[in-house]
C-alpha cells in the first residue's frame, strides 16, 4: 500500500470514527420512552451465562412493550452496550447512557458486574444515578443512608451463609445438631469468594460447627489438593463458592476423591445448568442455593412462552435455555426494573422517570405477595420491600435446588435469612466507609 492510499484510508477511518462517536443522530428518536441500557458481555469467559440472562431481560421487556403496551403506557427503549465484562468498557457504557439516549430518559443503570458496581460507586454519587445490582451488589450498600445510589437488591453472601447453615441444620435435625459438624467452604480466591469467611466465623461460634476455609486460585482448573484437604479434614458438608470453570471442576474432583455430590451446596453463582452439566454424571445429586429458581412452571414464564417465544420473538437462539437459572434471573431483574417504574409512576405520573425519580422509586419498592401473584411470579420471587435504611430488601430468602443429571429440581421452599443477625455489623461497616470517605449519612425519614 502506498503512503498516499494509507493516508487516505487513515483519514477515512478517522472521519468514520468521528461520525460514529457522535452518532446519536442515526438512531430513532427516543423522546417519551424510558431507557434501559442493557450492559452485555456476549464475549469472553462469562458469555455463556449472559446469553440466557440477557434474553430473559429482553424477552420480559419486549412482552411489556408489545403485549402490555409499555409500563403504564411508557415504552421501554433497550439499548445494548458491550462491556466484555471489563470495568473500563463498562465505564464507557455508563458514560454513554447515564444522561439518557436521544430523548429517552435513564432512571437506573444495571451494571451486571459486581466489579463495575463498585467502580461506579463514586461516579454515581456525583452523577446521582441509581446503580442496581440484583444478587450481585455490595453488601455494605444495604445501608442506603450512606449509599443513596447503590441498590444491592435481593441477595447477599452473608445471608447466603445463613441460609446454607439453616439448610444443613434442617437436614441434621435442628440447630443443636450442628455442634461438632464440619462445614468446609471452598471459595474462589477473590473478594467475592472471601466475603463469606466473616459471617461463617460468626455462625460457627454461634452454633458450634467447625468452620474450614479452603481457597481455590482463579480460574480453578486444578483442585485435587484442595479436595484432598477436604477429605482429610473429614468435612461433612462443602459450601462451594465457585465462579466460572471452578464449579464443574470442583464437582468432578469431589467425585474422584469420593466426596458425595449431595453434600456439596453451591453458591448462587455455582448453581446454573452450565455449572452442573459439564461435570457429567458426577454432578447428580449436587445441591445449590437458588435466588432465581429455574423452571418454566411459573405464570409469567408461561405467558412469555405464549406471547414471545412461540411467536419467534425471543432473544434466545436456543430455546432449550428457556426457564434456565440465568434466563429466569434475567426475567426477575427486568421485573425489578418495571416494578420500580410503576412505583415511580404512582408518585410522579405515567411518564419516563429521571434518575432522581428512579432513585426514589427504587427506595420505595414494595413487591408483596399480592403483587407477586398479579405478576404471575409466585415461587419465582420472594417479597421485596426497600427503604432508605435498607436498599437490599427486608427479607432475604433463597431455595435449595438439586441437579438430577439433566435439570434442577427444587428441594425446599424459600428459606429466609435472619436479617437481624448481621445488620449491626453491616451498619458499622457502612459507617466506617462513610467516615473514610467523608460522607454525611442521610437521615431516614420513611
Amino acid at each position: 500500500m502506498s503512503l498516499f492510499t494509507k493516508a487516505i484510508s487513515l483519514a477515512a477511518a478517522a472521519t468514520m470514527a468521528a461520525t460514529l462517536m457522535s452518532s446519536a443522530s442515526f438512531a430513532e428518536d427516543g423522546t417519551g420512552q424510558q431507557l434501559y441500557p442493557l450492559f452485555t458481555y456476549r464475549t469472553g469467559p462469562y458469555a455463556p451465562s449472559f446469553i440466557p440472562f440477557g434474553a430473559g431481560n429482553i424477552d420480559y421487556l419486549r412482552y411489556i412493550n408489545e403485549v402490555e403496551g409499555g409500563v403504564d403506557g411508557v415504552k421501554i427503549l433497550v439499548q445494548e452496550c458491550e462491556t466484555a465484562y471489563t470495568i473500563e468498557r463498562g465505564i464507557e457504557c455508563y458514560e454513554r447512557y447515564k444522561n439518557g439516549y436521544n430523548g429517552a430518559l435513564t432512571a437506573a443503570i444495571y451494571p451486571h458486574s459486581s466489579g463495575l458496581d463498585v467502580a461506579l460507586t463514586d461516579k454515581a454519587r456525583i452523577d446521582k444515578i441509581p446503580i442496581v445490582s440484583p444478587g450481585g451488589g455490595q453488601n455494605i450498600a444495604t445501608d442506603g443512608r450512606v449509599f443513596p445510589y447503590q441498590y444491592p437488591l435481593v441477595f447477599d453472601y452473608w445471608s447466603e451463609a445463613q441460609i446454607i447453615v439453616d439448610y444443613i441444620a434442617q437436614q441434621a435435625g435442628g440447630y443443636d445438631k450442628l455442634k461438632g459438624l464440619k462445614i468446609a467452604t471452598l471459595y474462589h480466591d477473590s473478594g467475592y469468594g472471601r466475603d463469606t469467611i466473616e459471617p461463617l466465623g460468626i455462625l460457627s461460634k454461634k452454633y458450634g460447627f467447625e468452620d474450614i476455609q479452603i481457597p481455590v486460585p482463579h480460574p480453578g482448573e486444578q483442585q485435587q489438593t484442595q479436595w484432598q484437604q477436604i477429605r482429610r479434614a473429614g468435612a461433612d458438608w462443602v459450601f462451594l463458592r465457585g465462579w466460572g470453570v471452578m464449579t464443574p471442576v470442583a464437582i468432578k474432583t469431589a467425585a474422584r476423591v469420593g466426596f458425595p455430590a449431595d453434600r456439596i451446596i453451591g453458591d448462587i453463582w455455582s448453581g446454573s445448568e452450565d455449572d452442573a452439566r459439564p461435570a457429567g454424571a458426577a454432578a447428580k445429586g449436587y445441591l445449590a442455593v437458588s435466588v432465581f429458581p429455574p423452571g418454566t412452571d411459573y405464570g409469567i414464564l408461561k405467558t412469555l412462552k405464549k406471547d414471545i417465544l412461540d411467536k419467534g420473538e425471543s432473544d434466545l437462539k436456543d430455546n432449550s435455555k428457556f426457564g434456565t437459572v440465568y434466563y429466569n434471573y434475567g426475567v426477575i431483574e427486568a421485573i425489578t426494573f418495571v416494578e420500580a417504574l410503576r412505583t415511580g409512576h404512582k408518585k410522579f405520573g405515567n411518564r419516563p422517570l429521571t434518575a432522581a425519580e428512579g432513585q426514589w422509586a427504587l427506595e420505595n419498592l414494595d413487591i408483596d405477595q399480592k403483587r407477586i401473584a398479579e405478576l404471575g411470579a409466585e415461587g419465582l420471587i420472594s417479597p421485596l420491600k426497600t427503604s432508605i435504611d435498607n436498599h437490599k430488601g427486608e427479607t432475604i430468602a433463597a431455595k435449595i435446588i438439586q441437579w438430577n443429571g439433566q435439570s434442577w429440581d427444587t428441594r425446599t421452599d424459600w428459606i429466609k435469612a435472619d436479617a437481624s443477625l448481621f445488620a449491626d455489623v453491616i451498619k458499622a461497616k457502612a459507617a466506617a466507609y462513610a467516615k473514610e470517605k467523608g460522607i454525611e449519612p442521610r437521615v431516614a425519614t420513611n
Partner: protein
Amino acid sequence: MSYFLETLVSGLFAGVMYSLVAIGFVLIYKASGVFNFAQGAMLLFSALTVVTLTEKGMPFALAFIVTSFVMVVMAILIEWLVLRPLRNRDPLTLFMATLGLSYVIEGFAQLLMGMDVHMLDLGIPDVAVQVGGIYVSQFDIIASLIALTLVATLAIAFNKTRMGISLRAVAADTLAAQSIGIRLPVIWRIVWSVAGIVALVAGLVWGSRQGVQYSLSLVTLKALPVLIIGGFSSIPGAIAGGLLVGATEALADIYIGPLVNGSVSTWFAYILAVGFLLARPAGLFGDREIERV
C-alpha cells in the same frame, strides 16, 4: 506422610496435564521461533469442533479425524496469512501477532459454534482407585498414558522420519537448513499442523475435566512457567518442567498457603521459574547460547 505422598502424586498428575499443553508451544517455538500465545485458542477451537460435531451425531472417531483436518487447514492459513508476511521480524512482534491471532480464533470458534458450555465425555471413568495406599484417579492415569503416547509418537517422528530430521535441522540452524534445500514454509505448515493436533488432544483431555468452554483458552497461563523451567525448545524439558511445576505447586498450596492466608499457586510456579532461570538461564534442557563478538 501418606498425605504428603498423595499430594505429591496428584501434583505430578496435574503436571502431566500442564505438560500436555506445553508440548504444543515447544513444537512451534522450536521450528519457527514463535512463542505462540494462540495455542490456548487453538485448544478451545479444536475441542469445541469435536464436541459440536459429536453433538450433531457424528461418531467420536470421525469427529476427531475431521477436526484434525480442520486444524491442518488452520495451520496452512496461519502460515500463509500471518507467519509468511512476518518472516524475519523480531520474536516480540511475532508474539504480539499470535495474541491478535488468539482473538481471531476465539472469535471464530464462538461465532461458528456458539458460546455454550459443553459436556465432553471421553468414556474414561473418573473414579479413584487405591494404589499402594494412595488414592489415584483412573482418569489421571489414562491422561498420563495419552501424554506419554503423544510424546513417544513425536519423538519417533522427529528422530526417524525425513520430515522430523528436517525440522531438527531448522531448529538447530535455520539458515544452514535453508541452504541445504529445506523449505521453511513447508516445515512451518507441518509443525503448526502437528501443534494443532496436539492442541486437539490437550483440549479434549482438559475439556473432559472442566467442560468445553471459553476458559479452556486460559490453560495457556499454566503452561508458561512449565516452559520457562523446561526451556522453550525442549520436549523432555516440557515434561520435566510440568512435573516439577505440578508437584511443587501442590505442595506449596498445602504447606505454604496456610501461612500466607490463601493459595499461592497462581504465582508460585512463576517465582520458581524465575529462580530456575537465574540458575540456568536457558531452562532445564534448553540450549545455552554462547555469545559471539
